[in-house]
Amino acid sequence: MPEVAVRELTLGEAVREALAEEMRRDPRVCLIGEDVAEAGTPFKVLSGLVEEFGKTRVIDTPISEAGFTGIAVGAAMTGLRPVVDIMFGDFVTLTMDQMVNQAAKVHYMSGGAWKVPMVLRATLGASRRSAAQHSQSLHAWFSHVPGLKVVLPSTPYDAKGLMKTAIRDENPVIFFEDKMMFKFKGPVPLEEYTIPFGVADIKREGDDITIVATSSMVQVALGAASMLEEIGISAEVIDPRTTWPLDEKALIESAKKTSRAIVVDEGYERYGVTAEIASVIATGAFYDLDAPVKRIGAMHVPVPFSPHLEDATIPSEQLVFEAARAMCKRS
């Protein structure tokens, strides 16, 4: 194998590089959203793109999420490949009719006559001290709707490869980035690559327990796995990377191998992603499980402002560690 040139990028830089490469490759790709041009979004993820691609392809909008998302749906149907930027994932509520009733349904409802190749980028994740309307993780809502695909990258490498796949996909794709991870660094090859949807990635191999984790919860799971290693428990951390399509087979296989599974996700635990994945594992690995599948999600409360309250609502390394230790019956 020839050595692959790799450098360190932040997750934000990896997303930007994916967008820039796809915009160079395909003139139909354009960015639409609030303060995406000169401002490069409040998170500065898009900085520099307007200088390279101009204001006809990096397009600032009024504060009208439903309006510009609807325009992106129509533009995607008629020859462009828009990437819509929804600054805070909480604001996806404003786009719901356009994404759920329009984008998700156009292809099916028209019997395949029209398609909607668009990407909606949004953020998720709490712990930024931003309170209940700037902190939610609402990816389960979209994962529930047929016609949409939902991506949750957990590393710069995954973010870049998955974003390129999202832009090339012929369907509406919702791409959630954890806003606390934009500065998180990781290796990214110089060579071009893409990552297919529906393929989970084992972030750490282990034998005693499987921890399924998404987005920033992968780092939480890896932290817990290190703590578990110190007490002699070998944890496998697996990241589905897309909640739809979902790599059910890989999740089931991992759980069969370890006989125990915990699912960690920052969305609300009730009726959430952890529930779906736990059900997949409980059904698919039933005869190999030594314990019921454990779910750890966000507490069922609006995200509070006060730091110690907010921190209590989010899954932590300690929480995952303790759950795993209990499941493995170690003290």
């Binding site: 609807g70 129509g74 356009q98 292809h107 395949g112 006559a113 029209w114 398609k115 369907n171």
Partner: protein, 332 residues
Amino acid sequence: MTTAINKPKADPGLETDRLLRMYKQMVTIRLFEEQVNDLYTRALMPGLAHLYIGEEAVAVGICEALHRDDYITSTHRGHGHCLAKGAAPDRMFAELLGKEAGYCRGKGGSMHIADPASGNLGANAIVGGSVGIAAGAAFSAKTLGTKQVAVCFFGEGALGQGLLYEVMNLAQLWNLPVIYVCENNLYNEYTHFSETTAGDILARPAAFGIPAESVDGQDVRAVYTTASRIVDQVRSGNGPAFLLCNTYRYRGHHVGDVNREYYRAKQEEQRWMAERDPIKLLSEWIIGQKLADNAQLDVIHAQVKSEIDAAVDFAMKAAYPGIDQVEEDIYA
């Protein structure tokens, strides 16, 4: 409340071929819809349908001013728009009956006819749901330099949706070639529009700087003449436009809405049908101007009748989609 109607002078020189074509299109929509009602009444059609009878001049006059590759978005009351833009009655009926030969392979039904070949981006069952899609198609046309325009048909009920105002603001800011065609048939479902609509309708687009005017939506010659002028302006890069077409829905909100006295009087319906029927108005003009005689119009009517009968026959005999198709087309 009242909204002033500009009385554009219908072009007296509209060529006879065009007038007869528009006559035929209006009759096609009328007979299509009467047939839909018949299928519903005989329990041969699944679900409901929202009939366009009475409003034919709007769809026909507007679409006559468009090119085949211009885009439209339509509504739950969309059969007229789809036919006027070029959909074939046989595949329309097939869709209404849930057959595989339908425009959406039986997956869309009455409220979702879509047809890329005639620029139809789809009828939409969310009131106001397609205003963004139409502007998006106009955005593509402008970006790709195709010179297409997009027409967004919507009823006056959609004036209550906030999305319309977000998108009109964007369309004007971005100078998009989109035309907002508001069909005011007086009723938001079962409620008179005066109970739901504050102020002057035309003042709303005007607030964004969008040129706005109204037209008698029962007079297909006036609709066509006005639409042609607007389409030319929009196509040549002057940004969006808004056209309010004042019209009337002869039938109920949907085919099952037959007892309507609690929200409107029978006399009102009879008055519109007797005095303001778009097909009658055009046929009287054609005959009065001696462009054709009654016998010629009767021939057109008979032709349309046999086409519609054949289309229904086609749809009735067409196959339902196989159950294996239920999971097809979710993803492209």
